[in-house]
Amino acid sequence: MASLLQPDRVLYLVHGEKKIRSSLSTLYFCRYCSELRSLECVSHEVDSHYCPSCLENMPSAEAKLKKNRCANCFDCPCCMHTLSTRATNIPAPLPDDPSKTAMKKAYYLACGFCRWTSRDVGMADKSVASGGWQEPDNPHTQRINKLIEYYQQLAQREKLERDRKKLARRRPYMPLAFSQHTIHVVEKYGLGTRLQRQRPGAPITSLAGLSLKEGEDQKEINIEPAQALDEVEPLPEDYYTRPINLPEVTSLRQRLLQPDFQPAGASQLHPKHKHLLIKRSLRCRKCEHNLMLYYFSVRIMSIPNLRFQKECQVLLTLTNPVESITHVTLVGCEEGDPEDINSTAKVMVPTKELVLAGKDAAADYDELAEPQDFQDDPDVVAFRKSNKIGFFIKVVPQREEDGDVTVSFKIRHDFRNLAAPIRPSEEDDAPTEAIWLTHHVELSLGPLVA
């Protein structure tokens, strides 16, 4: 198993497009293909959106509308920390009256990290705690929308022309003069016939539709092309002599957080709504099903001092996370095994089959339960505790190198696919069939001790 500090002691081999060796915590298992998958050979999909500061789950439609930003939380434009709303009391201009509160609450945004406040950019205090702050609009929005409409119109025209060309192309032997007249002939081929079948009697073809539409379309959107300027504003005269107040000038990173404005002065930095994060769902590329985390794990328990060419025993543990009994066999790698490229030591694994008890959630609490009786060979099995088993393997380091001693072997165990659909035609209540899976495991046991 991988732990935070020793991530890559036990590696599993994944047969994907590339052979990847990685630790179990980064691997997934496809129940339907019965294979291990790593992050590289799965396709990622966006599952749900949530805000990192208020942890509110947002439905996808709302996230799309709000441009993937939280409605309530803001980011400080200076240091990108989350802003908090603070309240002050502003005295209201009422005469002192003990029965009425003369103080009005006003809210402003402040950053706890860099002490930026919304008052620095001139945003007025709001009287509601949330929902009062608006982001400024891009001044060019109207012009851009007009441009898009104009180009949509051109695109429409191009599409119509293309359709017309497409229909006309099909009958190259027809003289061009007839192409407008032979609308009835068009009816016999292609689109015309289908349309006619759908709406008998109505004037059909797209050609006729084209000419009508173009004549009707009086309200064309014309935009004025942009005007080029003769002169550009020069730098102000005092630019060369004025000393810079460096905190007042925004850094590039702060500017790029607001792509529409990119202000140079810190007094124009407005806060932005906080960007959402997503939860990803992973799909197996071959069978398009969702994946689950792989659970069967080998763990290194204790390692004695490893000496060159001296045999030593390493204690490993195996944990069985399912509730049924699992049988495990270990097989050493043969000579010339193409997957066995990293091992620097010979390993002797126990040849007998190891049996692991199922996980019993109540085992800790149930003192009266009888321990299950397994015939354990004390040379092989060190201990057995509910669904865990500890066993020995013998390691003989072969190479006197500076690197870690690595051993590899294959684990073979049975797996019951509980999620597979139960065939309704079966009469006898046979449990789901067990599939035997084989995985290639590599253990990194640490450096040699001289």
């Binding site: 396709s43 990622h44 999909e45 966006v46 959106h49 439609a61 996230a63 799309k64 509308l65 441009k67 993937n68 891009n138 060019h140 012009r143 851009i144 929308n145 441009l147 898009i148 104009y150 180009y151 949509q152 051109l154 695109a155 025209r157 191009e158 599409k159 293309r162 099909r170 292609g190 935009i223 004025e224 092309p225 942009a226 080029a228 300027l229 003769d230 002169e231 550009v232 504003e233 020069p234 730098l235 630019y239 060369y240 002599t241 000393p243 810079i244 460096l246 000038v249 925004t250 850094s251 590039l252 500017r255 790029l256 792509p259 529409d260 990119q262 959402l276 994060l277 997503i278 990803r280």
Partner: protein
């Protein structure tokens, strides 16, 4: 249309528009007025501290593939937050992008993320779309280079391109050199130390920040005087008074004293004409000379400047003044009859203009659909069409009349009316 998006009235989902620049990537959705994010084109590997640039043309395919895969993964799942499989992709690219990079990028999109279709759009052409004009001389002042390409009646005049490696990268290098040479650092233990003794070398992000916050481009008169003073070996030319020094804090305790002379002189390298007499301003005039005579007037009166380096304070004013000065020089005086130069101001910042053009184009869903390279086509042929590729597209007889027409690759660069 933005109004109907929220109601979910069906139809295709908006396309994703990505402008993958050498320094920064602008990403967002078609039909919007600005990119959602402008992020550096870098990835962070878990072990290393130094981030890796994604846009590199010299590394081998496998490394490039894995870098691009990781970068596009963060683009989709950290910034855009959409499923790659649902939306078409419009990539704004430079026409000088090597085919190998393009093909690897396409492979990442189709094989790894399984997008429905991909379209590569040239950045210069897209900038014209953001203005609503048909012709213009577009100059892209970016990170690696400054590239000029004229576009006449929506068709790029490919033979008239001009480029110089004077961009953000060159400015950073020059600025770094000047800082190391001339500036001192105060740390808490000592004052007035030279830079290399206190910190080994300044990271490029810091140099970039110094450039953005303290440097500017002087106007023509002042700039010429600075250049004269620099190259004048006898020391007779007088340098105009430098702007005040700046104290720039470096990570906490150290303060870098930036000399005023650096602040205005580092940008002169863009306009100094080196031995070949080329500068950013001569690019425009050289391009005009290469263009057909009839087009020159329309092009010179429609200059469009895009790119991040063009956002330096004072750059546009100086550029226009330099062009006007140079056009009277004997080299150009006889070649060019047109003397009037006009500058456009697009409805977006210069670093987002090409992206905006792409977003406007991407909002035309049918056109985008008909001109894109679909996943089926890519799976069949295994390649993406390129403007410099000599193998002609598949003949139309391969597809039966009546089925969908083949992608109109021939017209991939022009927007016909």
């Amino acid at each position: 249309m933005p109004l109907f998006e929220g109601l979910g009235s069906g139809g295709e989902k908006t396309a994703v528009v990505i402008d993958l620049g050498a320094a920064y990537t602008k990403c967002g959705f078609a039909g919007e007025t600005g990119p959602r994010f402008i992020i550096p084109s870098e990835i962070q590997k878990p072990g290393q501290q130094q981030s890796i640039k994604v846009v590199q043309y010299n590394i081998n395919t496998e490394e490039l593939y894995s870098n691009l895969k990781e970068f596009i993964h963060t683009l989709y799942f950290r910034h855009l937050l959409v499923n790659p499989r649902d939306r078409r992709v419009l990539i704004i690219e430079s026409i000088l992008c090597p085919s190998h990079f393009r093909e690897t990028l396409t492979k990442v999109f189709f094989k790894q993320f399984e997008v429905p279709s991909v379209l590569f759009a040239p950045s210069h052409l897209m900038s014209i779309m953001s203005l609503g004009i048909n012709s213009g001389l577009v100059m892209d002042c970016g990170y690696t280079e400054t590239l000029v390409l004229p576009v006449y009646e929506c068709i790029p005049i490919l033979s008239a391109w001009e480029a110089l490696p004077l961009g953000g990268k060159a400015i950073h290098k020059e600025l770094d050199g000047l800082l190391v040479e001339q500036c001192t650092v105060d740390s808490d233990s000592s004052t007035g130390q030279s830079l290399p003794t206190v910190i080994g070398s300044i990271p490029e992000e810091v140099v970039e920040d110094i450039k953005v916050r303290t440097c500017f481009v002087s106007d023509l008169k002042r700039g010429l005087k600075i250049q004269e003073a620099k190259f004048n070996l006898e020391g007779t030319a007088e340098r105009p008074t430098p702007p005040p020094d700046v104290d720039y804090p470096l990570d906490g305790e150290k303060i870098l004293h930036i000399k005023g002379t650096i602040r205005d002189s580092v940008m002169e390298m863009l306009f100094e004409q080196d031995n070949e007499e080329k500068s950013v301003a001569t690019l425009v005039l050289d391009t005009l000379v290469k263009c057909p005579i009839d087009t020159r007037k329309a092009l010179s009166e429609n200059l469009v400047i895009i790119g991040g380096t063009a956002m330096l304070p004072g750059f546009l004013h100086r550029l226009l003044a330099e062009i006007r000065l140079l056009v009277d020089k004997p080299k150009y005086r006889d070649a060019l009859a047109t003397k009037s130069f006009r500058l456009h101001s697009p409805p977006a910042k210069p670093n987002c203009t090409a992206w905006l053009g792409g977003a406007i184009f991407g909002a035309l869903q049918d056109i985008l659909g008909s001109r894109s390279v679909s996943r089926d086509y890519y799976n069949q042929t295994g390649r993406i069409p390129d403007w410099c590729c000599l193998s002609s597209p598949l003949p139309e007889s391969v597809y039966d009349a009546g089925k969908t027409p083949p992608p109109l690759m021939k017209r991939a660069f022009s927007t016909e009316k």
